[in-house]
Subunit: 236 residues, 2 copies
């Protein structure tokens, strides 16, 4: 199978798709100067929402002291719970690390470079997946009553939950932004140590720590470059 790369609209706007036999026509290319505003024209989403969730949203490393309420977490959950997971399995679990003792226990197990970031966050969320998510399948996938039986093996459950938990983590980060907050996801921590401390029964596996709050004035780094369309998308 041969694949050609999709050309970005600004690569050669006068000759959209030239030389790429598989490309469909690009009616908007070459009309006006390419830029974020032109491009947003292809969306049904409002520019305000696109800015809030993606274009102006930005990972935060330092936060103000303004608290994050349980009501905001409720609103985030009530939004992102509708996003899709395979077999509707929803393996993600979220631990709000609120007590001073729990914060201390978690922060001690972060990579050294992540501790000050978490200390500054009014709320730290510990994301894990549930190794026993399959026990809820009869409830969340009622039209497939035998689905639970396909997950007898724990390693297969872990792989499935890891993938779908990662997707749900992404939805959660979008949800944090939808609530007008900034997120600071961090993968650098002692996962086994955190699991022993927070999930002593051994039924959840942590995989991401997310600092949540309002960014401090100096709490965001300049944005790093993103890959252009032609580096990411190809046509077969």
């Amino acid at each position: 199978m041969t694949a050609t790369h999709l050309t970005a609209g600004d690569a050669d706007p006068g000759r959209p798709g030239h030389g790429h036999g598989h490309l469909h026509a690009v009616p908007d290319a070459g009309v006006g100067a390419p830029g974020p505003i032109d491009r947003a024209a292809g969306l049904a989403l409002s520019p305000e929402a696109a800015d809030l969730l993606f274009r102006e949203a930005h990972t935060a490393y330092r936060f103000t002291s303004e608290p994050v309420t349980d009501e905001q977490i409720r609103a985030i959950h009530d939004l992102v719970k509708w996003a899709p997971t395979a077999m509707n399995a929803q393996p993600l679990r979220i631990t709000l690390v609120r007590s001073p003792e729990a914060r201390e226990a978690l922060i001690a197990r972060l990579a050294a470079g992540n501790r000050a970031k978490a200390q500054s966050a009014p709320l730290i969320a510990l994301l894990s997946y549930d190794l026993d998510f399959h026990d809820t399948l009869p409830e969340v996938l009622p039209h497939a009553p035998g689905a639970r039986d396909g997950f007898a093996a724990e390693p297969a459950r872990a792989e499935f939950a890891s993938f779908n938990g990662a997707m749900q983590a992404a939805y959660f980060l979008i949800g944090v932004r939808a609530a007008g907050l900034a997120a600071g996801p961090m993968g650098g921590f002692d996962r086994e140590g955190v699991d022993r401390e927070f999930f002593p029964e051994g039924r959840q596996r942590s995989f991401l720590v997310v600092n949540i709050g309002h960014p401090a004035a100096d709490g965001q780094f300049p944005r790093s470059p993103r890959l252009d369309l032609e580096r990411v998308v190809s046509v077969a």
Copy 2:
């Protein structure tokens, strides 16, 4: 570490947080009948955008013949490229399966129950991660010039790319909805066979097939139940 479960606003709206010592006050609980409209009040996102991306969006299994243009894919990429990945690594690659031969080759490798769904889709996207994403780190993470050196081992790259690719797949599904389209993600296919056919050089690993288009009138199943807040969120 002990954790209590966060109670949903409708579990006992008159006594928010009662019995949960770690819970913060919930100022909005108990005011009016709990419901989607009340709950959206906790969001900065507009109700229209919340509906478009999450609350009314819905996996599709049959599609109309209306095409999905490259311009729509450009708009989706230009939106979701801003979402975060670890080390800004962006390992997701998207193959638009447009030619009749490529469609046939992919559909033949889908689980039998997924073939009719894909056949009905005006556009099928094959999502994979790039095993050599680390080669772009000097470009996308310019402030950490040694980052590439930490990824000499391919198994570690595969694990990292699998996790971050899953997060980017989630962003992509949200982006499809932002473009006013419906997505039908499918994990059931012969990944090794697809990789041999589409990525013969062995540098990409497929992990999700996404049908994209406008849903047919009978193209969506009734929604399956989502887990309530208290099943998902706990407080430590």
